[in-house]
Assembly symmetry: C2
Homo-oligomer: 193 residues x 2
């Protein structure tokens, strides 16, 4: 039996993207963003939505570039902090003891200690309401070599990403592997069967 | 040490949204969408990106409405199937043995058996390249009563959502709880400390 919860932003899983930008003075900032996800395959693009009130918003408009650093479960405390403090008040990298690295491809910094990084140039900006959606074209993805499997593929089990759950407002680790995608569903038939 | 993987759509966690639409004949369809996420808090909106070649694309343009049904880990096989077959060729609900329910709020069907449903009207359409992003305003969220905790809040641990991992192309269950959001990071300081 389903019950109505109203018009709310409840969906799972929700990412914890750490969005890196430079401010007008060239100071690195990082902010936790849960409203986002990949939005196009060609060109490869990722969408992030931020409020105009954030320090990151001004940096995005000014620099037209950002990175998405994806933390491992070991970094959950720092990632949460990136969503609590504002770059207007404090250098969050210094406070969290993390290292900003200047991207050599886009005008933005990423988090050295996090295992997976997307380097992006802003290609579309859409005002949606409280949030503005920035679509960034992904010009490169960088990963720790320790996160590649024996076939050289990026492995979620080695990255150990985590998600944020709206509703009960908690972070969750990656759980057990349930099966291969574009595969287990063939039991119900495919185009060719 | 980080290594370059090229300009690719690699990010974690990636959702498995089952997007429900009606076609021109009023037949229900459902499609698995991994490129999407919440994109605005006010009005509450969710973004989904689909290729023009999909049957869902035409349905979205015609009906200007969709639902997002979020499957539990028990539904991983059916969810994968929704990403393999096309509504042009087959009634996927019938093939997967699932039940389409007409939303009483938007012109789209949802999956009765899945625990969490977002009912949406299209409010923005953005051409990004291979994919088109549809932002839908969430007019209601419906959840199984069994997915609410003792405080009446939606609980990820009761929904049991899963994610898709690009790279190694597998589905993963929700893992262990790592901590409370907007809380564990206070160790590094907050605006008021």
């Amino acid at each position: 039996m389903k019950t109505s919860l109203g018009a709310k932003t409840l969906a799972y899983p929700t990412p914890v993207f750490i969005v890196g930008t430079y401010d007008a003075h060239g100071r690195p900032n990082a902010m936790a963003v849960a409203w986002g996800g990949i939005c196009c395959s060609k060109p490869p693009c990722v969408a992030i939505s931020v409020r105009k009130a954030t320090y990151t918003y001004g940096n995005l408009v000014e620099r037209q570039a950002f990175t998405v650093s994806i933390p491992s479960e070991a970094h959950v405390v720092a990632a949460d902090y990136f969503g609590l403090a504002s770059g207007r008040d404090v250098d969050k990298f210094v406070a969290a003891g993390l290292t900003p690295v200047r991207s050599d491809l886009v005008d933005a910094p990423y988090v050295a200690e996090f295992p997976l990084v997307l380097e992006c140039n802003v290609v579309h900006v859409h005002e949606l309401g409280l949030h503005t959606l920035f679509a960034g074209e992904i010009v490169d993805v960088k990963a720790e070599e320790t996160c590649l499997d024996a076939d050289g593929r990026l492995s979620a089990e080695l990255v150990r990403p985590f998600s944020w759950a709206p509703g009960n407002n908690a972070y969750y680790a990656l759980g057990e592997r349930l099966g291969s995608a574009f595969s287990v569903g063939k039991v119900f038939g495919t185009k060719d069967s």
